[in-house]
């Protein structure tokens, strides 16, 4: 399977080529290079998935973890080193296909979407960089390699969000995204340090082997504040994942990240990068399950809360990309919760499987939603719902694609979203009823806000547009088509056969009761949306008025941004950094350093009078000095 190395190298080479040649290549050539490169990568990925699952297949009952390539990159101690390598196991191969496919569609889409934009070369280069980093992340053989690519992913996200660097909002959003995730990464890093300190390894294989025995064995007896070292380490690592995956309260960067170009949002902030946190937890799942079950519980609750929270906020947003962003947060939280409620081995591990399944399906339909939204935005030159309406006539293809995606995310069979969501609900139902109820509610809300979006864009009141909205070019529509197909069919994959917590595979069925309740609540949501938004009326406003403060709070995203602003600007910057800077200038430098100088000068000035110019005074000092010295010397 050594050819998988090319999956990494091709995007890297494309990035270097595009970055170094810069504007010397025309936009068209750039697009071709980028898309072709990605097409090859996608092909290779699918081929490797085929090879992995069907040619190599299960040996001894489970899918083996292959490391076709690995070398030591940076050595720390005799046992610890960062190895760069390629790890192939079910989830990484699955991720490869997802990332490369979505990336390919986004590349293609971008050629049309970004036409005429300045810096398309830069854009393509960054996209390739992102793809490279993300692929490296999922194929990481050890946790530190993952951290390496984790950071690179963060960088490419930063660069792409800030693509329109002359727009202050974009600059601010990119900065925010980077810093918030960086803050979370700090937890990740400390977690890694702690874990490696205990276990003496970074390697995923060693960490997860024997149901995390190494972790359990090496952390026994070490506890802090009532939590074991393993719990601490894994909780910290989860913080890293929570940052990237926008779990509450670290989600604040994601909605702002929508300032980036829409295809970027589709690729990075919907389909791939944001699920890195889920992937991380899944990657370490045995360790979480066996060594730190308490943390896994925490993950479940955080996920469920985030899902609910984000869904509520999504209902109130009017910027279509923001709605999608909150929807993303909500859906990723879904996956997180699924992991949190998962058991281990066989059908018990349904949560794990379903989480990955949802990740898989979500990638496609969310990408589809974003790309569709991109087509809409491009047509009307606005993100605001209030500027849209009745677009189904102008954009028929987009309309269909968008509708399919909405249905999928709402969990309407037989689209893919139904299957994965149903499995999650099923897993939650068997594990924790509270979480189940929460997720069930979220399913309803999801259907509601998605169709609110749908009706507001494509139905509702006909607006007058400055330019007549036109359907997008084929480079944008082809990706939509691909994604529609994927959205429609992926649900039928026998996912649990391939991906399970113990890599053994099992057959998962559909729990009819749960499925029925899920579909029912989704339909309720859709109907409610249809009532409120299909035709323009004042019912939504009345409803909002009746909700009062809660509605306003939800519009304002429950003031989480404000809290963050308060903590960073007011507390950290104003109460820590500013006083420190002042302290440095005025106390350490002013008092200690300059003060010493001033004191010396002052002394020098005050003793100046001793040199009075009076020779008799000199003589007095002379003699008195001699006498004093004499007396002192005699009695030494």
């Amino acid at each position: 399977m050594a050819f998988t190395l090319f999956i990494l190298l091709i995007p890297l080479c494309v990035f270097l080529l595009l970055a170094l040649s810069g504007k010397r290549l025309s936009a068209g050539v750039t697009g071709v290079i980028g898309t072709l490169g990605m097409a090859v990568v996608a092909g290779l990925s699918c081929f490797s998935a085929y090879r992995y699952f069907f040619v190599i297949g299960q040996s001894g009952g489970n899918f083996p973890a292959l490391v076709p390539f690995s070398f030591e990159w940076l050595r720390f101690t005799d046992t610890l080193s960062i190895d760069l390598g390629i790890l192939l196991d079910p989830i990484s191969v699955m991720m490869l296909t997802v990332i490369s496919t979505v990336s390919l569609t986004v590349h293609l889409y971008s050629v049309g979407y970004m036409r005429g934009e300045q810096g398309f070369q830069r854009y393509c280069a960054f996209l390739s960089l992102f793809t490279f980093s993300m692929l490296g992340l999922v194929m990481a053989t050890n946790i530190f390699q993952m951290y390496v690519f984790w950071e690179l992913v963060g960088l490419s996200s930063y660069l792409l969000i800030g693509f329109y660097y002359t727009k202050p909002a974009a600059v601010a959003a990119s900065k925010k995204a980077f810093i918030v995730t960086r803050f979370a990464d700090l937890g990740f890093l400390i977690g890694i340090l702690l874990l490696s300190y205990c276990t003496g390894t970074f390697d995923f294989g060693e960490l997860t082997a024997n149901n995390g025995l190494l972790v359990i064995g090496s952390t026994t007896g070490m506890a802090f504040l009532g939590l074991s070292a393993a719990s601490w380490a894994l909780a910290l690592i989860f913080i890293g994942g929570a940052g990237k995956s926008a779990m509450f309260p670290l989600h604040v960067w994601l909605p702002d990240a929508m300032e980036g170009p829409t295809p970027v949002s589709a690729l990075i902030h919907a389909a791939t990068m944001v699920v890195a946190g889920v992937f991380l937890v899944a990657r370490m799942f045995p360790v979480y399950y066996f060594a730190a079950h308490d943390v896994l519980m925490l993950i479940g609750y955080v996920g469920a809360f985030t899902a609910l929270f984000a869904a509520v906020v999504a209902v109130t947003q009017t910027d279509i990309k923001r709605v999608l962003a909150y929807s993303t947060i909500s859906q990723i939280a879904y996956m997180m919760t699924a992991l949190g409620v998962s058991g281990f081995s066989g059908p018990d591990g349904l949560g794990y499987t379903s989480s990955m399944f949802h990740l898989f399906t979500h990638a496609f339909f969310k990408a589809l939603l974003f790309l569709g939204a991109g087509a809409v935005i491009r047509a009307v030159h606005s993100n605001e719902m209030s500027r849209m309406g009745g677009l189904r006539k102008h954009l028929p293809v987009t309309h269909v694609a968008f509708l399919v995606a909405c249905l999928a995310i709402a969990g309407i069979p037989p689209l893919s979203g139904f299957f994965s969501k149903d499995q999650i609900l099923d897993a939650a139902f068997h594990h924790d009823k509270v979480l189940f109820v929460a997720l069930w509610l979220v399913a309803g809300l999801t259907a509601f806000y998605m169709f609110r979006l749908y009706y507001n864009i494509f139905w509702g009141k006909e607006r007058t547009y400055e330019h007549k909205p036109r359907e997008a070019s084929w480079t944008m529509l082809v990706p939509l088509g691909i994604l529609v197909v994927l959205t429609a069919v992926t649900g039928f994959f026998p996912f649990s056969k391939f991906i399970s917590s113990d890599d053994m595979g099992y057959a998962a069925g559909i729990n009819r009761g749960v499925a029925a309740s899920g579909v029912a609540v989704a339909l309720i949501g859709i109907l409610a949306a249809r009532m409120l938004y299909r035709k323009e009326n004042d019912r939504p406003a009345q409803l909002a008025a009746r909700m009062g403060g809660f509605y306003r709070a939800a519009v304002e995203k429950f003031y989480i941004d404000e809290v963050w602003m308060f903590v960073t600007k007011k507390v950290i910057i104003n109460c820590v950094a500013r006083p420190l800077a002042w302290f440095d200038r005025h106390v350490i430098d002013g008092v200690l350093v300059d003060g010493t100088g001033r004191l010396t000068e002052k002394i020098a000035g005050s003793i100046k009078g001793m040199q009075s110019g009076q020779v008799q005074y000199y003589a007095l000092v002379f003699i008195a000095g001699a006498l004093a010295v004499a007396v002192w010397a005699i009695y030494i």
Binding site: Q611, F622, G625
Partner: protein, 478 residues
Amino acid sequence: MDFSNFLKLNQEAGLVAVLLVLLICDMFGGEGPKRWLRPTACTLFAVLTAIGFFLPATGEAFGGMYVSTPMTVLMKSLLNLGTLFVFLQSGQWLRSDAALRLREGEFYVITLATLLGCCVMISAANFMMLYIAVELASLPVACLAAFNKYKEESAEAGAKYILISALSSGIMMFGLSYLYGAMGTLYFDGMASMTANAVTVIGFVFFFAGLGFKLSLVPFHLWVADVYQGAPTGATAYLSVVSKAAAGFVLMFTLYHVFGGMEAVWHTLLRWIAAATIVVGNLFAIRQQNIKRFFAFSSISQAGYLLLGIMCGTAQGMASTVFYVLVYLFSNLAAFGVVAAVENQSGRTDIAGYNGFFKTNPGLAAIMMLAVFSLAGIPPLAGFFSKFFIFSAAAAKGEYVLLFVALANTVVSLYYYLLIVKAMFVNPAEEQPIGRIRPDGYNRLSLIVCTVAIVLIGIFSYFYEYIDSISTGMKQLN
């Protein structure tokens, strides 16, 4: 009567000979010989200096009243060298007006006489001899200080100097009388058995005060600034280098050879005085506006460092002290050479006058900078090495606390030395800056030699190693 004794005095005898030649030229020569006065003085003196270096005579003479060792020869040669530079640098000033030109001969004669005093002082092995030599080395200096006699500052400097000098000579003699009373002899070898008791201690302290006056140690230093400022620059240079160095050497010899028995007393005493001298010199130097006065205080603190080497009482201490003097001589004289050149041409001695000096006179500014950097102890200049050796000698005695004080003060001293550099290089020139300064050939020669020496003396270890090879500590002689 054994006149062969006089043969041992070749340096002193040579000095007297030069002195007499110049005196006769000056007194009886007409305009012709007088024109040749300066070249004669410098040449003869250069020859004499060379004799000291290459034809040393060592041994005892006059029944132990006079001792000459390789070390004393070296020290005297250093003093000769210093005086030679002073001559080279003063010529331009002495010829700057008719009244001064009349007195040119006297300047040389008097300077040489005081130099003779310094030389005898170093070789003296008898306190009476020492006393006479000290007087010979101090009293005529008053005439040098007051040399610009129509200038109020110069006259004042002379008066201050002679008064304090007379007082210190009285105090020194008083101390010597007590020493004599306690030991019964004035010969060094007869006094070497001295131990500390009230009388010897008080005698020593008063004697030390007398030398401290010449060496400008705190609290006997107050005259220094006024005199240095008022005296003609040549005299200041002479005072700050030759006279001070001689006193340092004498102090070292007497401490090592006579007062060895009371080392505990003087070691503690010198420790405090060294610290005080360094600190006080530095603190006063910080705020000075006049460059000569500034160098006065800088030389006070330099004397403190010198004391650091002297107080060690080891061969290393002696070697480092002598080396320190060697370096100090070149550095200080380079600085004074520039000061003299500037003063002669522009009449300015205020530091502000040096603002933008580098723009108008890059060469002189560079020399001045090297000189002050050497004084501050910046590598790779010689001053760095000499300071390091002094500190090393002190560290060998375990004087780490004193070392700390001294080193903290090197930072202060760096500050004020940098003020000079700043004035020359950084500050913008005034509206009427000092024009292009052209030192005459003699001065230029002295500056070049000094600069070369500043740069090379440290890098070539020969000088220190030679000094080290002839140094003796206290223990060996006791």
